[in-house]
């Protein structure tokens, strides 16, 4: 089946089985290996991407469901040379250790900050409640997101 969708702002066309999981389409034919697989059953959030702006588990989305829709992955937030404020702050504040949860955390945090540019600590924890981390103990992730919100606010990037 031909599936046309927008990935990180570019128009992409795929010829894949409609029930290929979005994560496999991203990591395979689309060559975007930033998105990680943890549990494969919707428990951990490592595979989080934005689908029309909402955070979803790409391990639970058949790519056929994405026809005509817009997907944002961690690669869409910023690049190695131009890290987005969220990515920069995760580096500066120790928000990433082993890194397996990080792409999902970043994308879930992006969804949160688009909706709530100046979140309280409770709102940050609620926004990231679908993402598990086994390394950091979460506190540094929360601090990274808080710092990124401030940085985005300073740059006028808050309200997307």
């Amino acid at each position: 089946m031909k599936v046309t969708l927008t990935v990180n702002g570019s128009h992409r066309e795929l010829d894949v089985p409609p029930l290929m999981r979005l994560i496999d389409a991203l990591r395979g034919p689309l060559g975007l290996t930033g998105t990680k697989e943890g549990c494969a059953e919707g428990e951990c959030g490592a595979c989080t991407v934005l689908l029309d702006g909402d955070p979803v588990c790409s391990c639970l989305v058949p790519v056929g469901q994405c026809a005509g829709r817009s997907v944002t992955t961690v690669e869409g937030l910023g690049s190695i040379d131009h890290l987005a404020p969220l990515q920069r702050m995760f580096v500066d504040h120790g928000g990433a250790q082993c890194g397996i949860c990080t792409p999902g955390m970043l994308v879930a945090a992006e969804a949160l900050l688009r909706r709530t540019p100046k979140p309280t600590e409770a709102e940050i924890r609620e926004g990231l409640a679908g993402n598990l981390c086994r390394c950091t103990g979460y506190q540094r992730i929360v601090e990274s997101v808080k710092a990124a919100a401030e940085l985005r606010g300073d740059r006028g990037e808050g309200a997307a």
Binding site: M1, P17, P18, L19, M20, R21, D24, E37, A40, E41, G42, E43, G45, T48, L51, D54, P55, V56, C57, C59, L60, V61, P62, G64, Q65, A67, A108, A111, E126, G127, A129, G130, N131, L132
Partner: protein, 333 residues
């Protein structure tokens, strides 16, 4: 990695097309809404359909609004089955007229599940059990069970009925709030009260016939009705309920208690409407109602070993969670 088994995929645009397709495909097909229940279950080999009929782009399944009172029905909150749990949880309207439902939606999984999962999918959620929601490898090692591939139940030894738990958080809220489910199938449309929709059979705990689609949910609203939802879970997010409780209280014009309904779920396959709550006499003292219904709830509800955590502890938590819900339903202005 748990890949999705190969199957055929359909994406009808209208309700009529979906119903016709389901009628033709028969029991080889399953409805796919948000997929957050069906797809993990397929990955575990619990459900093995040849066809999936995605209802994600059917406009007729959307919408969340008040419907005005008619000659035969009071004012109602009408929510399309395709409405996502996150939309329902955030809806100011739902939070005002049916807080128990909005709170139940807000307590499902984490933000991702609520962004994907729909009300219809939650209403039709498969029952859950610690011996069933496991990988094929795990179930095979145990020798399977009655609900799938096996002949014995590991919860009720020697039992011939599956008692897997209704684990959908909106179910107790819909039952307590007196909701009706509007259903469409090839044989036509019908309306079933939420309290008659669920059965005690863990294999399949709804009266939905194969090929039928839940189209929308309608619940009566009343000015002096208050409601609340409470849930017991291990962590503050992601986890399915170990108990879920919805309480509804109607007041009379003078502010006295007129009617109480409390529904407890995540026990067996059917949400349980507490008899003690229905028996509350109009005009009863709120403090007495809270204490007596909570105490009776512990006698009426018997959590099983179908879910994780100690069943005795869950039983001791029944009155605690019932009390939390009742206190809030009775406190609100």
């Amino acid at each position: 990695m748990l890949p999705l088994p190969v199957f055929d995929y359909h994406r009808p645009r209208t309700l009529a097309e979906a119903v016709a397709l389901l009628a033709t495909l028969g029991d080889r097909a399953r409805v796919l809404a948000g997929g957050t229940d069906l797809l993990p279950n397929m990955k575990h080999g619990l459900v093995e359909p040849d066809h999936l009929v995605s209802i994600g782009r059917i406009e007729e399944l959307r919408g969340l609004a008040l419907a005005p009172a008619t000659a035969s029905a009071p004012e109602r909150l009408v929510v399309g089955a395709g409405v996502r749990l996150g939309e329902l949880a955030d809806s100011l309207l739902a939070r005002r007229v049916a807080p128990a439902l909005a709170e139940a939606a807000a307590s499902v999984g984490g933000p991702h599940h609520r962004a994907m999962g729909t009300l219809g999918g939650n209403v039709c959620l498969d029952t859950r059990c610690r011996y069933y929601n496991q990988t094929h490898f795990w179930r095979k090692a145990l020798g399977y069970c009655l609900k799938k591939d096996g002949t014995a139940c590991h919860v009720v030894k020697g039992g011939q009925n599956c008692v897997a738990a209704a684990s959908n958080d909106t179910a107790p809220a819909l039952v307590a709030l007196g909701a009706d489910l509007e259903i469409l199938g090839a044989a036509g449309a019908r309306t079933v009260a939420a309290r008659d929709f669920y059965t005690a059979d863990g294999l399949r705990n709804t009266v939905l016939a194969p090929g039928e689609i839940v189209v929308r949910v309608a619940l009566p609203v009343a000015v002096r009705r208050r409601s609340a939802f409470e849930k017991l879970r291990r962590r503050g997010a992601i986890d399915f309920p170990l108990l879920s409780v919805a309480a509804v209280v109607d007041r009379d014009e003078a502010g006295a208690i007129a009617r109480v309904d409390v529904v407890v779920s995540a026990l067996g396959a059917r949400p349980r409407r507490l008899r003690a709550a229905q028996d509350v006499a109009p005009g009863s003292d709120p403090a007495v109602v809270i204490a007596s219904v909570a105490a009776a709830a512990r006698r009426e509800c018997k959590p099983l070993t179908n879910l994780d955590e100690d069943a005795e502890w869950r039983r001791d938590m029944v009155p605690v969670v019932v009390k939390r819900a009742l206190v809030r339903a009775l406190a609100q202005g």
